[in-house]
Amino acid sequence: MNGNPVIEAKHLDLTFQTNDGPVQALRDVNLQIHKGDFVSFIGPSGCGKTTFLRCIAALETPTGGKLTVNGMSPDEARRARAYGYVFQAAGLYPWRTIAGNIKLPLEIMGFPKSEQDARVEKVLDLVELSGFGKKFPWQLSGGMQQRASIARALAFDADILLMDEPFGALDEIVRDHLNEEVLKLWARTGKTIGFVTHSIPEAVYLSTKIVVMSPRPGRITDVIESPLPKERPLDIRDSPEFLEIAHRVRDGLRAGHAYD
């Protein structure tokens, strides 16, 4: 791998203090993500995959270990606009048009007005929503709304895109389509992508690196470097290589999770 990792976690711990006593959400998480990687985090609920992503985004503060993003602390990285974050729900403001929603982070970050429109056009084109800028969110389908929220995360040119189960609420047909779109987007922009999912085919189809996690306490049980080529048509999912990786992911999930 080339150069310094973009995201590096060393012995990362996170314990939540709850009314039922401390809950260990992450234990001894070690991971390196390099520039241009597409990393999926997969595991059952409660395995800490979302929590880890939130740590990278400085939405949670680890209680132990070290986490750097672009060589900085997550907090500094956020102020340096290191990443865009996509949540499970599109979270578009109903009182703003699609273009207005995408402009929102630009307004908050203080981009000049003249530049805002150009950037909106550019990212709308990236997610193939050109011409929808003047529509209101309710006029778009769920899949289109989620694409708009990805465009919003891309608008300020962060190098890292963090996605927390972005397609979890969509049906499988839309999901397949958006998976293809995300791969195209990734190829065109060269972003580093962190992607949380609970779908094995989604993780294997998208990723260059699959991080398998298990719960109680949340920890990494396996890291799989995908041998699949960068160019991935949808029917690659029927190839023996694909099925082999999927099998290894399933094994990793089973090993880390006692179904008692």
Partner: protein
């Protein structure tokens, strides 16, 4: 449209029928007394005989006198057409500047209501902003706001007027303050809820952009609260009107719809009371409808209504 109009007409007709019917037992005793004095044959004869009898029985035994129950000058319950006549007389037949004009009294009440509503709404919004942004304010102000509404306004209104009069504040202001006292509360409650309506995810999202508190307020919290604000304003404006009228009872100075209600009850002018009541209701409905129009326009412009 006809499918809507028909049920509405049926309800109005039912209310009118009930009202006219209710006038009969309410006013029958005085109607019989008057008719007997004028020589009509009433069953049973004599005021003494009828004194302890049920009004319903008397009405049933003297159907010939029903019409009289709808035409008295000072009935216990005036009939609808009497109220309409009184309304016509006191709005169209007299100059709007006359002290006998309901337009004049309505304007006095309306101006104090609008002033109180403005004070109450702005104050309510400011309080809500403080409560949402400061935990200390949330803990310290909210209980007092709730406590303030548990005190009967009728009890506190004269005190406010007396205290303010001792500082030389008279006229519109004391009424406006009582009106604001009633209208700020729904605005506080609605706005606090509205400003807190963005989800945890919405708040996380603006955090990932390192938005300041002020940016979060202007770009997320405030626009998200607008539908809640209008719902509160509708309740607030109706409460404002009630507050003003209560304020006019002890401090009317001979003006306002509240004073008309009071004067009517002093002199047994029930028709005047009901006319003032109806004028109040029309005023309240107009104010609520006005806010409804503003609401529809604003939400449409914001893209919040489809």
């Amino acid at each position: 449209m006809t499918r809507v109009i028909f049920p509405v007409l049926v309800v109005v007709a039912a209310i009118m029928a009930f009202w006219y019917a209710a006038c009969i037992p309410m006013n029958i005793k005085f109607a019989l007394q008057t008719a007997e004095r004028q020589g009509a044959v009433i069953s049973p004869e004599g005021v003494q005989a009828r004194r302890d009898m049920s009004a319903f029985v008397l009405a049933a035994r003297n159907p010939g006198q029903w019409a009289q129950t709808w035409e008295q000058a000072k009935p216990r319950l005036p009939a609808p057409h009497q109220i309409v006549q009184e309304l016509w007389k006191t709005t169209v037949d007299v100059k709007p500047t006359s002290k006998r004009s309901l337009v004049f009294h309505g304007w006095v009440t309306l101006s104090a209501t609008l002033a109180g509503f403005a004070i109450g709404s702005v104050g309510g919004i400011l309080l809500a902003v403080g409560i949402v942004h400061s935990r200390a304010m949330d803990m310290s102000v909210m209980p007092w706001a709730i406590a303030s509404q548990t005190i009967p306004i009728l009890a506190i209104a004269p005190m406010i007027i007396v205290v303010l009069a001792s500082f030389g504040v008279q006229g519109l202001m004391p009424k406006a303050i009582i009106s604001a006292y009633l209208s700020f509360f729904p605005v506080v409650v609605g706005m606090v809820k509205g400003l807190r309506s963005p989800s945890a995810m919405d708040m996380d999202l603006v955090r990932t952009w390192s938005a300041t508190r002020a940016q979060t307020f202007w770009k997320l919290r405030l626009p998200a609260s607008v539908p809640y604000l209008f719902a509160s304003l509708k309740i607030g404006v109706a409460a404002s009107l009630v507050g003003t009228i209560v304020g006019e009872l002890p401090a009317g100075g001979g003006q306002g719809l509240g004073f008309r209600l009071l004067a009517g009850s002093y002199y047994g002018q029930t028709v005047q009371i009901w006319a003032a009541l109806l004028a109040t209701a029309v005023l309240a409905a107009g104010l609520v409808a006005l806010i409804g129009v503003l609401e529809r326009g604003t939400l449409k412009r914001m893209g919040l209504s489809r």
